[in-house]
Each structure stands twice: as structure tokens, then as C-alpha cells.
């Protein structure tokens, strides 16, 4: 007993004061890409050619990047001779609609939060059922850490639950493999309405690196309408946490 208490004192208080305090992400962290097509050389398509998922497209003077397909691998930034594509450390990436994930010619950002009725329902208590439908288990790993003391998801009233019957929403990861499609549909159907659907990671948004594989669908919206898209491969835990809190209108 004494050793348990001693260890408790040693380990200290570790919960980070998010969102009151901004997290410090590593200096090499690749967050929201910054596009500056004015720097592009005429006829250069180096970034497009380097991109493993065709997330980038250069048409005429425009440069577009789909965050839903982006793996944040930095291959485009490395390939560009003029720094027309760079990665910032902004981890706030989640969006309510698929179109809002496309960076490019015009700036558009419909708000991230849900409507007032949903906010009243879920804003202070949100129970989520997670379904892994393909993918590589990295998104699952960084969803799991949200329940560790550093992030302490529970203090926001958000909790992952075992049964879809107890849930207000579903968090989907993976491209939705053919072999998982039926189980995913059944799980979603078992969640009472109104419910939220959250797609986490490039696979769940667009198929990611498995896009157009015959063994998988191209993401969660092939199966169900999605309320929140959280890009990344995998998204940083703060990207997910920020997305969830923004959805509920608790941060901007």
C-alpha cells in the first residue's frame, strides 16, 4: 500500500489544461498545409507527382489539396523546389463537410459546430461507440490515448462506451473494408437516433492509402452520412480532441 501511494506522488498530476492552454506540438509536426500557388513555376507538377494519394491537384494557376486524402507525409513539400507547399503546425483540421476539407482557390469554412438542437442534446454529455473498419490501428491507438490522464476525455463529458445502444454516435476508422461493411452498418443501426457520425483519419474520410482498392469502400460516407471529418494519418490526438470539442461548440 505504501509503495502504491509513493508511486502516486511520484507520478504527479499530468492532465494538460487543454483547451485553456495551447498544446506544444513537436517542431517537426506536419499540420495544416499552406498553399502558395503564386510561387509555382509554370508547368511544374512535382508536388502532384510526389503525392501518394493524389490529394494534390494543380490545374492552371490553382493548387488544391484535399485534407481528406492527405497523409501529411510531406512528400509534396519535399518535392516542391519553390516552397509553394509547406506544412504549418496548426493541428486544428476537422471539418463538418467533405468540401470544407479542400484547401485551394477560395477560402471557405462553414462553422464546425452542430446545430443548436444537437448541441443541447450532446454538448455536455456525448457517448461514442468506435468501430474499426479496416485501416492500420494507428487511428484507434490515438483515439485510445484520449482516455489517458494527459487528455482525460471524460472531463468534457465525452466517453467511449461498449454498446452501440448506449451511444450517441459512432466514430469510424478505416476505409470500410468489404469484410467489415455489414458489421459497421449493423452497429450504426443499433445506435439510437439522433446520432452523430465521426470519421477519423484519411482512410475513413476517403479510403486514404487504400483508395479504390476493390477490397474496401472509399471511406465511411459510402455507408452513412458523416457529421465530422477529422483528417490525418493518423490525426494527432489534439486534432481529434479539438474536432470533437468544436463539433459540440465548446471551442472555436
Amino acid at each position: 500500500m505504501f509503495s502504491i501511494l509513493k508511486a502516486r506522488l511520484k507520478q504527479g498530476y499530468r492532465t494538460f489544461a487543454y483547451p485553456d492552454q495551447e498544446p506544444t506540438l513537436p517542431d517537426r509536426f506536419q499540420g495544416r498545409p499552406v498553399l502558395e500557388p503564386s510561387k509555382c513555376a509554370g508547368g511544374c507538377h512535382a508536388c502532384e507527382e510526389a503525392c501518394p494519394t493524389a490529394a494534390l491537384a494543380r490545374t492552371g494557376p490553382d493548387l488544391k489539396l484535399d485534407l481528406g486524402q492527405c497523409l501529411f507525409c510531406g512528400a509534396c513539400a519535399n518535392a516542391c523546389p519553390r516552397q509553394a507547399v509547406t506544412f504549418s503546425r496548426d493541428y486544428r483540421l476537422a471539418a463538418r463537410t467533405r468540401n470544407d476539407l479542400v484547401l485551394g482557390d477560395r477560402e471557405r469554412q462553414a462553422g464546425r459546430r452542430v446545430d443548436e438542437a444537437s448541441r443541447r442534446l450532446f454538448g455536455r454529455s456525448l457517448k461514442l461507440r468506435q468501430v474499426s473498419a479496416g485501416g492500420c490501428n494507428a487511428c484507434e491507438a490515438d483515439l485510445n490515448v484520449l482516455s489517458t490522464p494527459v487528455f482525460d476525455l471524460g472531463r468534457f463529458g465525452i466517453q467511449f462506451v461498449a454498446s452501440p445502444r448506449h451511444a450517441d454516435g459512432v466514430v469510424i476508422t478505416g476505409p470500410v473494408t468489404k469484410n467489415m461493411e455489414l458489421a459497421l452498418r449493423k452497429t450504426i443501426d443499433a445506435v439510437p437516433t439522433p446520432r452523430l457520425v465521426i470519421a477519423v483519419g484519411a482512410c475513413a474520410i476517403s479510403g486514404g492509402i487504400y483508395r479504390d482498392h476493390p477490397e474496401a469502400r472509399n471511406g465511411a460516407d459510402a455507408v452513412t452520412p458523416v457529421d465530422l471529418f477529422v483528417p490525418g494519418c493518423p490525426p494527432h490526438p489534439y486534432t481529434i480532441l479539438h474536432g470533437l470539442l468544436a463539433l459540440l461548440g465548446r471551442v472555436e
Binding site: S3, I4, K6, A7, R8, K10, Q11, R14, L25, P26, R28, F29, Q30, E49, A50, C51, P52, T53, L71, F72, C73, A75, Q130, V131, S132, A133, G134, G135, C136, N137, A138, C139, E140, A141, D142, L143, N144, V145, S147, T148, P149, V150, F160, A162, S163, G174, P175, T177, N179, M180, A183, T187, I209, Y210, H213, E215, A216, C233, P234, H236
Partner: protein, 505 residues
């Protein structure tokens, strides 16, 4: 064995140098080697134009530091090896599913991933439209009698876990048999790697199992480097070793925390959950990503470890060592934890050898088996980590092996940081040589990761075959559950912590 091609880990060989035998001879040669203690690392098919299938076998020969590669020419069927050598049971089912070659006499021949054949019409199982059978629909072991009942779990489990289907045949609370059905995560990675390498290949390798990003990326890079004759600089080799051991540290720490949580001992569960994150953040310090994405690339590593960054890493390691020691040592002194860990889910060394278990699960049975020691490549040729073994083969042993490995990996990383070779970190890539083959083994945190690449006449991948350690070890979990209380399943499962996506590919 004169009818096999011997090679070192990551050493390229000409495809012609691999003997191609009649299936009966291949079978006899393989069984002979297995009797002398070899382990099967790969067993897979490569379709030939004349509708035949060339079956490759890669055997790991302990004590010799070498791998034997041999092959045979199969038609429609051959005599199964599984009855004599159960290590093959999953491999032979896979061969039947992917190439339609029937292992005659296989005792439990059923689909393994419920995937389509590798070529049209080339699978044992398909419906009239050529589609694979619906996943989970197959024969299962069953029992009859009083107080016999069956418990079916999954594919969707209670936590944030990957999907798989488990069927327990129980007598009261006691499990007589557990049958595991996987394939829900099958997303066609091996098929997508064929005809590569291309700009997607390394990303497919990194996502074979996300928690083993560095391990699988390293195996892929070793294959590509051998096939293209590129030698990564010494500094890159050292940094790869640092990244691989950080991956092991994060996962082992997380596992010890999760084991603690499964027996209801929350202090260690909550501390280790957090310390695991500290290790992931050290990987992010290295490359910006917590899982080590975009760090390991053919030819070396993409990012250097400057002096100040190395100092930062050293400080963090020292702090993490203190924290993890204080958290984990509670496990070994708390009777309620030990009572649940000891004698739960025990496997004998015999069973472990028979099933061909790898990684901490094998070492917990006392088997001195570790790629870093038996088949070293890269930095491990110069800096050895002795295999961490324990005895008993139970949950305690699997946990304790992880704790020994945590300490050794920490020591290894610190040694590397103090002796980092100077010089470049990345060699420029070259095209792959045509008609070659290579096997690359890496000791990932779960055990032996095995990749084999074969190039065609144009230097493209004719086959890229992956065996994740989980492919060997799922069967170990099933047998560990025999005669256990069903309520101990989460604990046993966590003590193996196997990958679904690594198995399903």
C-alpha cells in the same frame, strides 16, 4: 541442405539460384529441416503463366544465422505439411485461398481472410460469381453435452479495438477451445504492392500495422535496398535502431498498462497509458509523427538527429525510465496482480515450438528467439541486444519479458545516442535489379516481421509477401485459452496483444 539457397537476412539472391523442386521433394526437404529445429518464416505462392504456382518456403535456421529459401512447382494440389508440422496450418490455408492450391489432408482447411484469389478463378473458395464467401460463414469446431455452451464475440468488440470473431466452446466457465476468425481488416495490401515499387509502396508498408510502422517500413526498406544495391549510411542505421526500439518501448509500456487494467489494478494502468504517450512523443521529436511515419525510407532515414535534439531525447529517456520503473515495479509487488498473472494462459515450450511462436510470446516460454540476435541486420550487427527470456509461458512471463525488454531497449538507445556515427543519413535510390529475390526480417515489438520480395524481368515486384508476427501467434492465443476461465480471455488476449490488420493485410 544442398537443395536450398542459403542467405543472410536482407541478402539478395538471383531467382534462378532458388531451387525449384517437385512438390513432394520440397515437402520432404522442408519437413526434414523442421525436424532439425527450423521455423517457417514464409510459405506462399507465385502464379506462373502456365497456370502453375511456384511455392516458396523460407525457413529460419536457428544457430546458423541464415535463412534457407527453396521452392516447388505446384499444380492443383499437394500433400499437406500441417499434419506433420502444425506451424504450416495458417500458411497452407492462405496458399489455398490465394492460389487455389489444395493441401490434401489439411485437418482444418477453411478460408483464412475471406479474400478473393490472387488471379481470377484461382481460389479454393468462391461462389458462382467468383466472389469470396461471406466472412465468418464457415465450419466451426463444436461440442455437445450437458453444460456445454458456445460464446460468440465480435467482429465488433467492446473497446476501441480492431475487429475479429471469437468462438469459445465452454463447459461451464471453462474454455475447451477457442476458434478465431479474422479477415475483417483485409484491404488488399499485398495485391497493391505487386508491380511496385511506386510512390504508394512505402506508405502501404508503414500501414501494414500502424503500431509497427517503423518495423514494417524497415523490413520493406531492407528489401528494396538489397534489390537495388543501396547501403544505408551508418548514421541512418543507428537512427533506425533508435526508432525501432522507441516503438518497442511505447508498445510494451502500453501493454503492461493494459494488462494492469485488465486485472483491475488502476495505478499502473493509468501511469503506463500516459508513459506510452511519452515514448510516442519521443518518436514525434525525431520525425514529427508519433508513429514514426515518413522517417524510414529506402536508402536511410529522412531526418537527422541534431546534437540539441539528441540531448532533448536523452533527457526525456531519463525521465521516462524513472516513471516507467516506478509504475511497472508496482505490478511485481502487488499480490492481487500476481495472483491473476501467474499460471494464467500458460503455454509450454513444446507448444510454442510446435506452433512456431515468435516474439515475446515465444521468449516467455524460454525460447531464445530474437531476430536482432539470430539474424541481425543493420545496427544490430554491431550493437547486440541479448534475447530477454523468462519461463512459465504464462501471462506473468509475457509481461515480465516485456519489462526486461523495456530496460534493454532504453539502454540500447542511450548507447546509440552516445555513439552516433557521423555522416550522411540517406543514400539516393536506384532501380531494382531484375529477377531477384530477398528476405528481410526485423524483430518488431510483437516478434519476427518477415517480408519477401521477388522482382520480375523489369525489376518490378512480381510478388511481395508479408508475414506479420501475429500470423504465427494468433494460434498461440487460442491454445493458451484451453482450460482457462472464459473471464480470463481479456487478460490472455492482452498478454499477446496481436495485430488484426497485420494478419489480415
Amino acid at each position: 541442405m544442398d537443395t536450398a539457397c542459403s542467405c543472410f537476412n536482407g541478402e539478395r539472391m538471383a531467382l534462378d539460384a532458388i531451387p525449384c523442386l517437385p512438390m513432394d521433394t520440397l515437402r520432404a526437404r522442408v519437413l526434414q529441416a523442421m525436424q532439425h529445429g527450423a521455423r517457417v518464416s514464409q510459405w506462399f505462392g507465385l502464379g506462373l503463366p502456365d497456370n502453375k504456382v511456384r511455392v516458396f518456403a523460407v525457413l529460419a535456421e536457428p544457430g546458423q544465422g541464415q535463412l534457407s529459401v527453396l521452392s516447388g512447382l505446384a499444380d492443383q494440389s499437394y500433400r499437406a505439411l500441417t499434419p506433420e508440422c502444425p506451424q504450416f496450418q495458417g500458411f497452407e490455408r492462405e496458399l489455398a485461398e490465394q492460389w487455389g492450391v489444395v493441401p490434401e489432408g489439411h485437418p482444418w482447411l477453411k478460408p483464412i481472410r475471406f479474400q478473393s484469389g490472387c488471379a481470377p478463378g484461382r481460389t479454393v473458395w468462391h461462389d458462382t460469381a467468383g466472389q469470396p464467401p461471406q466472412i465468418g460463414v464457415a465450419d466451426f469446431f463444436s461440442m455437445g453435452g450437458d453444460e456445454i455452451h458456445e460464446v460468440a464475440v465480435g467482429p465488433v468488440h467492446a473497446g476501441i479495438i480492431e475487429p475479429g470473431h471469437f468462438r469459445f466452446q465452454c463447459h461451464g466457465e471453462i474454455v475447451f477451445h477457442l476458434e478465431i476468425v479474422l479477415g475483417y481488416q483485409h484491404r488488399g495490401v499485398e495485391r497493391a504492392l505487386r508491380n511496385g515499387p511506386d510512390r504508394r509502396s512505402i506508405h502501404l508498408a508503414e500501414t501494414l500495422a500502424g503500431d509497427t510502422t517503423v518495423g514494417h517500413a524497415l523490413a520493406y526498406c531492407q528489401c528494396v535496398e538489397a534489390l537495388s544495391g543501396v547501403n544505408p549510411p551508418p548514421r541512418a542505421q543507428a537512427l533506425r535502431g533508435v526508432a525501432l526500439e522507441l516503438e518497442r518501448l511505447a508498445n510494451h509500456t502500453g501493454d503492461l498498462g493494459a494488462l494492469s487494467g485488465d486485472v483491475g489494478f488502476l495505478p499502473t494502468a493509468s501511469y503506463c497509458g500516459r508513459i506510452r504517450g511519452d515514448f510516442l512523443n519521443m518518436t514525434a521529436l525525431l520525425c514529427g509523427n508519433r508513429f514514426g511515419r515518413s522517417l524510414v525510407r529506402p536508402g536511410g532515414v529522412t531526418l537527422d538527429l541534431e546534437v540539441t535534439r539528441a540531448d532533448d531525447l536523452r533527457c526525456r529517456l531519463a525521465a521516462a525510465l524513472k516513471d516507467v520503473t516506478s509504475a511497472v515495479e508496482l505490478l511485481w509487488t502487488t499480490p492481487s496482480v500476481l495472483a491473476r498473472f501467474e499460471d494464467t494462459g500458460a503455454l509450454t515450450p513444446d507448444v510454442a515450438t510446435t506452433l512456431g511462436l515468435v516474439g515475446p510470446a515465444a521468449r516467455a516460454c524460454g525460447l531464445e528467439q530474437d531476430v536482432r540476435y539470430e539474424f541481425p541486420a543493420g545496427i544490430y550487427c554491431y550493437a547486440q541486444i541479448p534475447p530477454a527470456t523468462w519461463h512459465g509461458g504464462d501471462v506473468f512471463a509475457r509481461a515480465y519479458v516485456r519489462w526486461i525488454e523495456i530496460q534493454r531497449s532504453l539502454a540500447f538507445i542511450r548507447e546509440q545516442l552516445d555513439n552516433l556515427p557521423e555522416g550522411p543519413i540517406l543514400e539516393s535510390p536506384r532501380p531494382l535489379a531484375a529477377s531477384q529475390a530477398v528476405v528481410a526480417l526485423v524483430e518488431g515489438w510483437r516478434g519476427e516481421i518477415s517480408h519477401m520480395a521477388i522482382t520480375d524481368d523489369n525489376g518490378r515486384f512480381a510478388a511481395y509477401k508479408i508475414t506479420d508476427p501475429s500470423f504465427h501467434n494468433w494460434r498461440g492465443l487460442a491454445l493458451a485459452m484451453r482450460n482457462q476461465q472464459i473471464s480470463d480471455f481479456p487478460l490472455c488476449n492482452k498478454s499477446f496483444n496481436l495485430s488484426y490488420c497485420g494478419h489480415d493485410l
